[in-house]
Structures are given as structure tokens and as C-alpha cells.
Symmetry: C2
Subunit: 425 residues, 2 copies
């Protein structure tokens, strides 16, 4: 049974710092959900002796090695030769892959195919091909004489990921016998990681599943992994999922890969509401995020990036005496901005943001990080002030998140955020 | 002399896929610029035997090991014990760090300090502290009996990076003797990586410096690294920098860490122009990017996120017959949007974007990826159409980049982009 994996990432682009090793992170995450522990990751450039060293070390540490990169057509792609050496076997041509490559190049008008591509169809004798639907280099898996397993994959993420999801993970699960691992992620906002930890304490028993947290600013997600025979695991996940969902309540805006902007879109769609934005310090980030969702034109009518005071007056009708008396960063201005956007754009609901993103522009009364929010709807106008912290980009991102969650909460009939929530601790 | 480094990244958050190892990328990039080759990166979780294995392997591969993570206050932070074991020395209290910690906690009203923090002030006997200005855990460096070097740093990027820039890199340069490595990066847009490769071919001789490219969508940067005695290297970098700058011409918008939005801000500031935006398919991304620059309120007056046709009419005054005759995605509409934004917001120059970001909404005449741009100024109005490719987020990002570069080019008196440039190849 496979319990311990080592990851091996190959390429000069990694060792010279051109790219980060996101493949290893993605694989570690997937393996974690399968119950396979990653004992180490090794990263080396395209040098024969370093690759050979890395393969020996990786195989000594784990019962499964997953390698990404180094199987392209060029002379510096050395993984397959290295693996054949480690396995003590020769290379054989995988004819179906060679045919597939010839057809691929012919379909693009490149005929005959450059001969160096055929190198990618050579695999160690006895290996099983892992098909690559999106590229020319197939992957493969093989077993060592002492019963360890290795999987060799291309380094291009968009080719590698579907190969893992569709072919490698099912094979790993099968190797693990009857047990399956199932995972669910709950996305939360408006509660700290430690607060979340306390909130769900005791909800999942130690022998039922494993709960972990991931803070990815400005959100915190909670993941639960259960295992057991397929029907047992499915029942367990359903049961702990229900209990967690109930306990998380208003803080959970979505499950698995759902984003905050999708959650807002779903909540608005359920109400058949259109939305407009009025953004000062976020400069357009809320509208950008809302329009990252395909089909958002069904509810997003647009907004005003009311950065200068004159823009707040001219396009949103914020009264000049409100600006003069309370200042641009005030709940009064935020309310007038939201009401103005709702009126000017003819939307059912409008949200506004005005604040001091920094690093300059703060005063003792209105420090950097002070952000006011407004929300106008047929039910009237509400407003809030939060004292945010962090750099300019963090203040903008957190402010956009608060504005989106205000929309979600309003559409779902939930209360607004605790005013002390986002303060520096 | 230090020529080969190994990186060691520690933490369960890495081996369970919670975060990517961006520290290793950042360090590899900095070491590359110093002329130090990274032979491998090792990533392990917080287990004593795995850490000891990783340290032995790393020290066997390189004359410098840089470790990040594993020096916090909790029981699973094991790096310092492991290093002391590898060095064969005991731990000693670094009193200045202990004092600093006590003052840090007292200043936050935590007095007495939780005792487990003192663990962070324990360092291997004989090690030299690397000060941590932004956190409680100091780093340190030490030499092994056989003359290899090791540097131990915290894993938090915002603490680790300044420690490296201000203390570790100067020390490495000093270890390398009289030779220095100097680097300059040129940020480009509007030319492909292969086009850039051809453009600068032969500009830098092999014995003068090393040129490399990095495509980071939607930009391509070119880096040149030179080395030699300090005055020789400085003269070389100045000479090749001048030649590259001249050859790159209009495609280079900035050097080193300058972003496109900063370049636009600089160009607008030089002209004393104010700017407004009118964004349809980008939803606010251009304004968001412009306002990522501190002090952008000096030139950015705001904009309109004119997503719905009604918003284009109501806030920007786009004539309904222009929309009816030419459609929302047309140069005619783009021109009216830019002119409307310039008028409504009272800006010197305004840029507009209207397009089909996908994945739905395309037609045979107006396919997904078709984006029209307008730019209005006192010199009149210009427009352009580009057929972009990629997913929704790529189309939005590339469209925002084209709009920003249009502003930059207009402010600098440069021609607009080649219309065929951004097509799928």
C-alpha cells in the first residue's frame, strides 16, 4: 500500500528562480486528500548527475515518487534516461504515442514531424503510459524491483493536472485497497483562523476525520478529510459536512472551489437583483472581481470609480456639503455614494467603499486603513466603518472582500459584520 | 569562494500543499543574480529525522545551504536543534535577541513574555546572528568544520526577504572575493518572447554578460547579468544597459521592479495630465491597477464601469443609435465611451475598453476575445481593435495591459500597437 510519497521537480527554470514550484504544491495537496504523506520534495536542474542523485534519494525516502518535468523533446530533457538507469532497463518506443505525435504535427501542417519529438515516445521497458491529452509528451508509471512505484509526468501544469486527476489519483486509490479518502472544503470570511478553530472544536471526532485550516488572505478555509470503505467514507463526509455547515453558519460563503464573487452572484441571482458599485479607494477592484464570474452581466450593471471628490459629486451626486462637513472618508459620504450609484445606474442594490489605502494620506483622526462602506437598497441605506491593516494592496483587497460579503449577507438576510472584526490584533 | 548553494525549505504547510515554496524561488532568483548556482532545493516537514536527512544531503551538495522556516517558538520548530547537531555544537542564548523579544512583547502589553519565545533566541554556539527587524526570531549563519557555510532564516517572507537583501547577500558577495555580479531587468510589453530574442540578438557578447527572458503573462522581461571586479562590472552593466535600452526602444516600459501601472503614472505625471477610464469587459481592472500605485490620486480622477449598455448611455452619453448600429463591442462605441468619460470626469485623457471576455457571448462576427479600445484627449480620439486569446481572466488582464500601454504610449508620443500583435499564433 502506498502511504509515503516523494516529489521530484526538474528544470533549470526552478533552480534559477524563474518560476515557483507550484506543481509540487498542487500535487502535495492532492496527495494529502488521498491520505498519502509527502515526506520530501526535491528540486534539481537539468544535469544528469543531479537528476540521478535526486531519483536515488527520492526512492530511498518513499514508496511512491512523482516526478514533473524533464520529458520534453530537447537534449536537456534527461528524466527518462535517468529513470531507465534507476530501473536497470532499456528504452522502448511506445508506438501509439509516436503515431499520436505524428498526427498532432500533421494536423498543424508540420509534416514530417521534427525527429527529436520521437524521443518523447521512448519510455522505460515495462512502464505503463499515462496519456497526455493536451500535449505531445506522454507520462508513464513503473515499479522498481523492490516494489516501489514511480510516476513520470510533464512539467506543464495544464497537461500534468488532468493526467493526475484522471489517471494517477484513481490508480493511487486502487493501490490503497478498498479505503478511499474524501475531502470537502468550506470557504469562510469574517472570522479569524483561531476563531474558526474554536467555533468548530469538537464537531468532528478524531476517528471521524481530520480538520485543517488554511488562511489565504483575506479568507480562511476549513478542510475536512475522511476515509474508510467507499460507502462508509461517503456517509461520514455527508454527516460531518452537515454538522460543520450548521456550525459555520453565516461565516461560510461557499464550499470547495466556490469564490466569494461567485457566492455573491448566486445570492443576487436568487433574489433577481441587479447590482452597482461605487468605489473610491478600491479603484475598481470590486467590479473587477464581480466580472470575473462568467455570466455576471445578468446582474452587474456597472459602477463608478469615484476616486476624486469631484467624481463623487459629478457622477454620484454626493452633496458637496457632505464632503465638506464629514470628509470623503466617512459613513455619510459612503451612504451618499451607494445611494447615488443605485440611482444613477438604476440598480436594485449598490455597495460603496471609501477609505485611506495608504501608505500616505492618513491623519490621527482618520488613519491609514480606515474604510467606510455603504449599501443602498429598497430597504434603505446601511453603512459601516472598519479599521483595516496591512499594506496598500491588502487594504484594497480586504475592503473589496468586505464589500462583497456585505452584498452576500444583505441578499441572504444575514447581519452585517462585527465592527471590531478586522482590527489589527 | 561560494559557487554552489542548496536551499532547504521546512514546514508541514509545504508538504501538505497548503502553500507553494515561493521562498525558494525568490532566493534562487537572488542567488542567480549573485552568480551562485542553486544545485537543489529540499523541502521537508517538521520531523527531526527528515530535517537531519535534508541537512546532511544539502551540505553534501553545496558550499552554502540557506534554510527557511522551522525557527519559531513552538515544539515543532526543530531547525536550530538539527543544525547544532550537524555542527556538533551546543546551543547558547543570544542575549541581545532575548532582550529585544522581551521589549517587543512588553510594547504590546504582553508582560511577562510567554517563556517558549525564548527558544527563538537560542542559537548554535559560534553562529553569527542575522538580525530580524520585523519579527521575533533572529536568523544566523555559521560555518561547518569542513568550511561549508549555512544560513538559517525565518520562513515568513516579509521577515526573510529584507534579512537576505540587507545582510545575507552582502555577506555572500564579500565571500566571493573581488568579483561582483550585477543585474538589470527590462520590462517589456507588445512584443513576443521570440520577437524579443531576435530583437536583442548580438547586442550583448557572450563574454560581456548573460541575457535571459522570463514570460510572465502578459509581459516579457529581459534580464542581463554581468560580472567582474566592481568597477569593471559597473561599467559593463552601464554599457550593455545603454545598448539594450536603445534596442528595446518603445517596447521597454520600465526597468527592474517598475510595473506598467507605475510607468503610466510616471508618464502622466511628466505631462501633468489627469486620467479617467471607461471599462466594460474589464469591469474595473484598469482603475484597480492604476490605484495600486501610491499617490495615484494625483492623476487618477476615476472612471465608469460601463458594463450594461444602459450604463454606457446614462453615465457616458454613448448615443443609443451608436450602440444599435455598431453594437457595444465596436470601435465606434469605444470612442464614444472614451470621449464620454473624458467629458463626464473632466480628465485630460481617457481610455476605454469594450469587448467579449467569454467564455460565452461570442458570435461568428464578434468572437470571444474581440476587444475594442478608445483613447480621447485634446488631440482627438483614436481607437483600435484587438483579437485576444485565452480564458476570461487572461482576456481581461491582457485588455487592461493594452489599455495601460496605450496611455503610456500616448503620453510619450509613441505609436499605437501593431494590430496583429496579440492574435493567437
Amino acid at each position: 500500500m502506498i502511504t509515503r510519497a516523494a516529489l521530484l521537480s526538474t528544470g533549470d527554470e526552478l533552480t534559477t528562480g524563474r518560476i515557483a514550484d507550484t506543481n509540487a504544491q498542487w500535487l502535495a495537496d492532492k496527495l494529502f486528500e488521498c491520505g498519502v504523506e509527502v515526506v520530501c520534495t526535491l528540486v534539481v536542474g537539468d544535469f544528469p548527475e543531479r537528476l540521478a542523485w535526486a531519483w536515488r534519494q527520492a526512492l530511498a525516502q518513499a514508496d511512491l515518487v512523482i516526478s514533473t518535468g524533464g520529458i520534453g523533446p530537447t537534449a536537456d530533457d534527461l528524466t527518462t534516461e535517468t529513470v531507465a538507469g534507476v530501473l536497470g532497463v532499456g528504452l522502448v518506443m511506445h508506438e501509439p504515442s509516436a503515431d499520436r505525435m505524428r498526427r498532432f504535427f500533421a494536423s498543424r501542417g508540420v509534416d514530417p514531424m521534427p525527429e527529436n519529438n520521437l524521443k518523447q515516445a521512448m519510455i522505460p521497458a515495462g512502464a505503463v503510459v499515462v496519456d497526455n491529452a493536451l500535449g505531445t509528451a506522454p507520462g508513464y508509471r513503473a515499479a522498481t524491483p523492490d516494489g516501489r512505484h514511480l510516476v513520470v509526468l510533464p512539467g506543464v501544469p495544464r497537461e500534468m493536472k488532468p493526467m493526475v486527476e484522471e489517471q494517477v489519483l484513481p490508480w493511487i486509490r486502487a493501490q490503497r485497497g478498498g479505503e478511499v479518502y474524501l475531502a470537502r472544503t468550506f470557504q469562510t470570511f469574517g472570522i479569524s483562523e483561531s476563531g474558526l478553530d474554536q467555533l468548530v472544536a469538537g464537531v468532528v471526532a478524531d476517528d471521524e476525520g481530520r480538520v485543517s485550516f488554511r488562511a489565504s488572505f483575506p479568507e480562511v478555509s476549513l478542510r475536512v478529510v475522511v476515509h474508510g470503505a467507499p460507502d462508509v467514507a461517503a456517509a461520514r463526509l455527508a454527516a460531518v459536512g452537515d454538522r460543520l455547515r450548521e456550525r459555520l453558519g453565516e461565516y461560510c460563503y461557499g464550499e470547495d472551489a466556490l469564490t466569494m464573487e461567485q457566492a455573491v452572484g448566486d445570492a443576487l441571482t436568487a433574489r433577481a437583483w441587479s447590482v452597482a458599485v461605487a468605489e473610491s479607494c478600491t479603484g475598481g477592484l470590486v467590479g473587477h472581481r464581480l466580472t470575473n464570474v462568467p455570466g455576471s452581466s445578468a446582474y452587474f450593471v456597472g459602477g463608478v470609480q469615484a476616486y476624486a471628490d469631484a467624481t463623487k459629486e459629478r457622477l454620484l451626486g454626493v452633496p458637496s456639503d457632505v464632503l465638506a462637513r464629514h470628509g470623503a472618508v466617512s459613513e455619510e459620504t459612503a451612504r451618499a455614494m451607494a445611494e447615488g450609484a443605485r440611482r444613477a445606474l438604476g440598480a436594485d442594490v449598490a455597495v460603496s467603499i471609501t477609505g485611506i489605502a495608504g501608505p500616505d494620506g492618513g491623519t490621527p483622526e482618520k488613519p491609514v486603513g480606515l474604510v467606510c462602506f455603504g449599501l443602498a437598497s429598497s430597504a434603505g441605506t446601511v453603512s459601516a466603518t472598519h479599521r483595516l491593516w496591512g499594506t496598500r494592496d491588502w487594504v484594497k483587497l480586504l475592503a473589496s472582500q468586505i464589500a462583497l460579503d456585505l452584498l452576500r449577507r444583505h441578499a441572504l438576510g444575514l447581519p452585517a459584520h462585527d465592527a471590531t472584526l478586522f482590527r489589527r490584533r
